[in-house]
Amino acid sequence: MSDERSDKATVTLRVARFQPKAERERPARAGRRERGGSPFGGRRGSSSPFGGAKRVRGRQWTQDYRLELSPETTLLDALLTVKRTVDPSLAFRYSCGHGMCGSDAVAVNGTPTLLCTAKIRDVAKLPSSFPGADDEGFRKTGVPAVVETDADSVTGNPAGDADGPLDLGVVEIAPLPGFAVLRDLVVDIDKMLDQLRKLKPYLIADGVLATTVDGKVDVFEYLQRPEQLKKYEQLTNCILCGVCEGACPVYSGGEAFVGPAALINESRFVNDSRDYEHDGRLDMIDTADGIQACQSVRACSRPCPKGIDVGEEIWQLIAQVRER
């Protein structure tokens, strides 16, 4: 994946780094991360049990890595190049490298996405052309409009001079909003999984399993027609990457909310004709921190790497809960 050799360009990866304090506990400071993450704001100083990400204390800083590479390179390949050639201590999760495993969700220029599906060409920005404004045109407050590229920044190769390769600018890479940062880009997703686990995320049917007698099975599969499958098939593609959660202002803002990912996985069973618990599942999610907490902002839809229209699906779920 790092074999691409077409027209090289330079890019600066501006990575939010964090190293947890191992022993000593120190009072936390508001850091760049809270401010730079969700535009709707982290809950600084909040101690609500659902209060967004729990705070892990440690040292935070941003680090620039300047690389020369093809604009077609994915951010994952770029960061792997950093690990291999510049800084092996940079921590981020990755596994399959092509959008199937869901390991590598981060915020790129403030927007949740997967490292392996984001290409440098699409996400690098020349700082001067967007003075202080992010993708949506929002201007962050309290930040210098243009962040100076530090002359001491660690570089993968000598910085290109004026006649060197095209400079694509800067990509800001930060941990996924709404989740506690454990180290660098590695976040704690246990809260998301715990919320999912509470909603009985498994098929509930007659529970009978087949056994083989004389080379034949004694029971067959549950029948399900293609049109019944269509009702939930796309929902089964969820890879639990957390991108929709990071994009959701309610979830990442730290409100008490089970989150879009759990609701999508619940909807998967609500709409599965084989499942016996249809009504029970609707009851389970009809709570203050369940479907009632969704404000239908639909920020969750756009970034889904599996193309699930999360907001629309949750809207359908709300309709089903109401019509009960």
């Binding site: 994946m1 074999d3 691409e4 050799r5 190293q19 947890p20 191992a22 508001a30 850091g31 760049r32 040292r59 800083w61 680090q63 077609e72 792997l80 690990k83 291999r84 050639t85 800084d87 092996p88 201590s89 921590a91 999760r93 596994s95 399959c96 092509h98 959008g99 199937m100 495993c101 869901g102 962040v147 100076e148 530090d150 001491d152 920044s153 660690v154 180290r183 246990d190 999984l193 686990r197 009985k200 995320p201 498994y202 098929l203 399993l209 087949a210 056994t211 080379g215 099975v217 067959f220 599969e221 549950y222 399900q224 027609r225 293609p226 019944q228 499958l229 098939e233 089964t236 599965d272």
Partner: protein, 666 residues
């Protein structure tokens, strides 16, 4: 619970499962769904089981499997398990243990039906049954026409199966330790084995002294940086394959052969590791898999002249011949100068051919090959409904692995030929790609890997459950102190040794000035607390990269004695580099470099065994094609290689009960 990981590690587990992909999760479910565990619970005994995974849940590479899972359901056309059995044996170029392949075919329908009844969202026929598609090497009537045997869920069957198995594990309350890395497999002869490794002599002393027994594992919690001594009466290794031996691979970055290397480190053997499947259709130089379903649905391979060349190599089955046949055909076209360059690297080597999917109806393509379409668009920048797509064989699957019986029991072999003797390792089990029950022989058929992992994983879970029923840790009837006998604790010792190793890996770091004042507005660009400025020295990621290049050059699709010798010498150099690796930061918590260093060492250990086994097999069979021995040689090599840490290879005869080896053609 704040973390899935256990708050305290138990004194002793009934069973520890290493790996949470299809095999590990099937074993956990097989265990909890067994009669034996029901009986235990009726007695009021709760078994203590822990699944340890180096990944978070649902990140396992099972999720990347695309095409299907084979079973003679006969939902499209009448099918017989005997045909599936025959195809599997032939596909494996007769290096298949036939009793195991028979079970595979016989129990395939049960396995697939139970996956469906557990929740897998299979694609469906119009009348609601599980849909099936054609797959390479699967035929009707013992080698006749290709037929629909692969049950599928669009082209995301692995993701569906992984999700469903995990969901059911949630249902059964399976306990996980996530992002824990197992660094050591500890047998009762840990001392002798270590001494033998230190002197590079064989562990004959221990293997000669009768049966060995598993004592537990050492696991490193990547979150805290602490090593744990995990005692267990039963250990199942289900860590998956080793595609990362190669640079061009369809495998995730985590497929580093850990389980096989753990077995080698413990003085055990690996079986048939010279057989590595190169999937014909990796997306050009990325190695990313384009499912065989792309050809099953009508895709055609074309050379640089636009010719559909597979008819020249496999007149009957053409593009749906077995994978080894197709990969070699691609290589032959490339070697004959009829290859094409990766369009992204137009001046690079002409080492690809075209996959022409333009004959597939675009609507149908979106319906049944959404993932393939997405991968080509995203990572190839092409539209397969209009453009031909460059493809190249990519390292995909290790047919070999830790030798197991059909019940999952790990064993070792001594002696050769008629004098061959097998000894089980008590309490040690394996399943899935890291194991070798030898259903795949020298080449695996598409659709048989998920089946192998789910079926033999489940069977191993049943075996372990029966063991636990006979003697549970939490046994109200047990005498006090029944477990004692001697007071040495090899697991504790191994954990202490590993903790020393971690300190040594961290110890070479010279801590920089702690930058305590790094506050909100500082754009601090130093590496405070780390030593990465001194990055001129090697790191694990570089060594892995070099290893991949060495192995690609030596073993990808074709090889010969000279290539193997050269690679052995180069891997020897890399072994020294890997031994000298150290961490570039001084904290153990969330230090990905530490596990990367261990993975690198594991890969090198396994690479050596793969090269030694390849060197020892003087023939060409299945996925292994040696230009210096281009013919299959049943007279000498109708046998499984059993390779140890020292590179010695023993041979175990193939079990042939029904199907006589004959010429293999498609």
């Amino acid at each position: 619970m704040a973390r899935m990981s256990p708050n305290t590690v138990e004194e002793m587990y009934d069973a520890v499962i290493i790996g949470a992909g299809a095999a590990g999760l099937s074993a956990a479910l097989g265990f909890y769904r067994s009669e034996a565990v029901n009986e235990l619970r009726e007695r009021g005994v709760e078994p203590k089981v822990l699944v340890i995974s180096k990944l978070q849940p649902l990140r396992s590479h099972t999720g990347s499997a695309e095409g299907g899972i084979a079973a003679s359901l006969g939902n499209i056309e009448p099918d017989e398990w005997q045909w599936h059995y025959y195809d599997t044996v032939k596909g494996g170029d007769y290096l298949v243990d036939q009793p195991a392949a028979k079970l595979l075919a016989q129990y395939a329908p049960e396995t697939v039906v139970n996956l469906e009844r557990s929740g897998v969202a299979f694609s469906r026929t119009a009348d609601g049954h599980i849909a099936q598609r054609r797959f390479g090497g699967h035929t009707k009537d013992y080698g006749g026409e290709p037929m629909e045997r692969a049950a599928y869920a669009a082209d995301r069957i692995g993701h569906q199966i992984l999700m469903t198995l995990w969901q059911q594990c949630v249902n059964y309350g399976v306990q996980f330790a996530e992002e824990w890395y197992v660094s050591d497999l500890v047998l009762d002869d840990w001392h002798d084995s270590r001494a033998a490794a230190a002197t590079e002599s064989t562990a004959e002393s221990s293997s000669g002294s009768g049966e060995r027994r598993v004592e537990g594992v050492v696991a490193f919690d990547t979150h805290t940086g602490k090593t744990h001594a995990v005692h267990a009466r039963n250990v199942l290794i289900a860590t998956g394959g080793a595609g990362r031996l190669f640079h061009t691979t369809s495998n995730s970055y985590d497929l580093t052969g850990d389980g096989m290397a753990l077995a080698l480190d413990a003085g055990l053997q690996v079986e048939d590791v010279e057989f590595v499947q190169f999937h014909p259709t990796g997306l050009a130089h990325t190695g990313i898999l384009l499912s065989e379903a792309s050809r099953a649905e009508g895709g055609i391979l074309r050379n640089g002249d636009g010719k559909a060349f597979m008819a020249d190599y496999a007149p009957e089955h053409r593009d749906l011949a077995a994978r080894d046949v197709v990969s070699r055909a691609i290589r032959a076209e490339v070697d004959a100068g009829r290859g094409v360059a990766d369009p992204k690297d137009p001046d690079g080597p002409k080492d690809c051919v075209w996959l022409d999917m333009t004959g597939i109806d675009p609507e149908h393509m979106r319906e049944v090959l959404p993932q393939v379409l997405e991968t080509i668009e995203m990572y190839g920048g092409l539209d397969p409904t209009r453009d031909w797509v460059p493809v190249k064989p990519t390292a995909h699957y290790t047919m070999g692995g830790i030798p197991i019986t059909v019940d999952g029991q790990v064993y070792t072999v001594t002696g050769d030929g008629d004098g061959v003797r097998t000894s089980p390792v008590t309490g040690l089990y394996a399943a899935g790609e890291c194991s070798c029950v030898s259903v795949h022989g020298a080449n695996r058929l598409g659709g048989n890997s998920l089946l192998d992992a789910c079926l033999f994983g489940t069977r191993a879970g049943h075996t372990i459950a029966a063991n636990v029923l006979a003697d549970p840790v939490d046994n109200p009837m047990a005498d006090d102190g029944a477990d004692t006998g001697d007071d040495t604790d090899p697991v504790r010792e191994a954990a202490d040794a590993r903790a020393d190793d971690v300190r040594a890996l961290l110890g070479t770091v010279t801590p920089g000035p702690e930058n305590e004042t790094a506050g909100e507005d500082d754009n601090v660009d130093n590496m405070g607390g780390t030593a990465a400025e001194e990055s001129s020295d090697a790191n694990a990621y570089q060594v892995m990269d070099r290893l991949g290049a060495v192995m690609d050059a030596a073993l990808a699709v074709i090889t010969d004695g000279d290539k193997i010798d050269r690679a052995l010498a180069e891997v020897g150099e890399l072994r020294e580099q890997a031994a000298a690796l150290a961490s570039h930061m001084d904290a153990a918590a969330f230090n990905q470099e530490i596990t990367a260093i261990w993975e690198t060492r594991h890969l090198i250990e396994l690479a050596t065994a793969v090269l030694e086994a390849t060197a020892a097999r003087h023939e060409s069979r299945g996925s292994l094609y040696r230009t210096d021995y281009p013919k299959r040689d049943d007279g000498h090599f109708l046998a499984h290689s059993m390779t140890g840490r020292d590179g010695d290879v023993d041979w175990k005869p193939v079990e042939i009960v029904d199907i006589e080896p004959r010429q293999r053609a498609y």
